[in-house]
Subunit: 391 residues, 2 copies
Amino acid sequence: MKIESVDFFYLAMPEIHAIGDGSQDALLVRLRTDSQEGWGECEASPLVTMAAWNCPMSHSACKPLSASILGQPLRDVRDIGRIHERVGEQSLDLLQSDHLLSGIDIAMWDLLGKQLETPIYRLLGFDRSFAKLPYASGLFGETPQETLEKARDMGGSGFRAAKFGWGPYGRGTVDEDREQVHAAREGLGKDATLLIDAGTVWGDDVALARQRLPALKEARVAWLEEPFISAALGAYRELSSLSHPLSLAGGEGCHQSHQAYNMIDFGKLGYIQIDTGRIGGITSAFQVAQYARERGVAYVNHTFTSHLALSASIQSYAGHVEDQLCEYPVEATPLARELTRTSIRLDGDGMVCLPEAPGLGLEPDPEIIRRYKREVEIRVDGNLVQQTGTL
Amino acid sequence: MKIESVDFFYLAMPEIHAIGDGSQDALLVRLRTDSQEGWGECEASPLVTMAAWNCPMSHSACKPLSASILGQPLRDVRDIGRIHERVGEQSLDLLQSDHLLSGIDIAMWDLLGKQLETPIYRLLGFDRSFAKLPYASGLFGETPQETLEKARDMGGSGFRAAKFGWGPYGRGTVDEDREQVHAAREGLGKDATLLIDAGTVWGDDVALARQRLPALKEARVAWLEEPFISAALGAYRELSSLSHPLSLAGGEGCHQSHQAYNMIDFGKLGYIQIDTGRIGGITSAFQVAQYARERGVAYVNHTFTSHLALSASIQSYAGHVEDQLCEYPVEATPLARELTRTSIRLDGDGMVCLPEAPGLGLEPDPEIIRRYKREVEIRVDGNLVQQTGTL
């Protein structure tokens, strides 16, 4: 079994809005051997990411990913690790490579799961998959009243945990932010888990973040997410020393396992949030999940898009009973909602479980791919080096 | 003065070899206002980086860089800082954006320098530019004998410091590596400064790196560069505690200032090496140089390509008398060597000085651009979104 082809499908809503909704487009990856196929999804700029697949080589550590992947054997999970090493070495200086590898890695796991007729979490060595407590993940309303209504709706839909982020939060005054947070708590009810996402709005400015801590503590917020950009480890470390009992969460921007390790070891996070579609796929996400568990830090997926991405993102910590929370997109676009024929739904207790079908356990719907597909053509000196795949 | 156009020139040698020579291609950036133009260079995959300029928006934090830059005022250095903030916010999730911003930032500084008729280092607030001690930067020979001869040539060319890296180093046995290091020392002579670059070959494996320390100490190597990938802070920290009097150097892979801060604060480097063409340009490189100086860590440029890149890379620490070393490419391709009409040459004492002409003080040669230019065309749904610029 060798990797014979890797094709890319750039999907997008007819209109893209300048809001913090990452589900407005998608980059799907289809990977084939002679007998099987697997699917994955990158959480990344589709066009730029596609360009990294077959761009001309710049030097021995800046090769396109095709150079490390096409024609490689894919018989068992060790082959995936080997391919990661090849890409790490041969595309070290190609920055976008981590985002691209993410979708390819997921497709490799999906393919192997189908080939071996087992869900991915079992290939990772987990005996079982524990139900996760999904939190509804949405954007703050433009006004506290709007946030309050959104929070009521989320609670009414069976969610016992919810997160609000982006929108106006952190951009106005401390009092305005307080009102937003209290509105979310009021709408959600006193017993639900409330999470707040600052979306890196304070850059690395600890003073600005610190001013928001009292309101977050008043509203019994469980975590403050991304007060800073992922690399601002010193700022995370300092705020963390001031935030108790509030925990800090972050990590969605990490594109390598080691960056997440650093956020745990030096940034002193309470929750590490990994986007499987950015960190390097299930392989890297699993490494981070193990690393976090050994250090008593909670692992959570970062997923704001499709249920294909959601399944991929849960696999890496499915067997950890201690890591109970799970981000669950509730405001996704029709493209993301309809992409898979089946979906991962809340059960009667408000919990979610991974599908038990082989691989990711979900398939993208070709009809939806056709509906939202955008045609890409990249030429260098007239030669076609990349284009959207065909179904 | 508004930014009216940003054009890209992808240059490449007719044949690209799979060796660690990053000068085999180049991505030049030309930025224009109504009255002036500036040039910059990205140290990055040209095709993928060009794609990030005008890719379709994915969401509010994954916009193409054109959205943050075209039409923006560029009157003084504060405008450059403001543009960095816009890009940081609006292209947060576009991984390749840092590499692209690097070349654009350099072009903005070059343009402002020309407009204000002053070298860039003065715009950065330095009163003067200190001569730097260039080290010849080359690849290890395939055999110790070949390395010895290369080292003799470097010493004979007037260099008082030299670095060997990549090639077979770290890939064979500890004894083979020892022979290579001793050959470099022998060829260079006992008084020269010898630096060794492992090119991330040990990933994050401290044990493998540790085995090489004795030979490096025997040969009185001043620094061991990149034993690990940039993000492996824990490994750097551990090796650093074992390496005295040898210092660790690293940082060329950093694509944000904060990653370099982390290597200084948590990785305990003795030398922080910044590629201005990757970190976010002169703006970010200057931030790192200041940060390092305040903490007693030596700052060094990482430059393996053209003298346009070399000038850009020295500006950010030109006024620091304490940061004396300077990487100087000696094995660059004809493309990189001939790209500028003038170059930065060693003086009689084996030192190099920045040009005193406005901006970068060097201009790319249009004839060379024409000779090596590759034509790129990127289309989405048939619409041209990016192409190589015209002179």
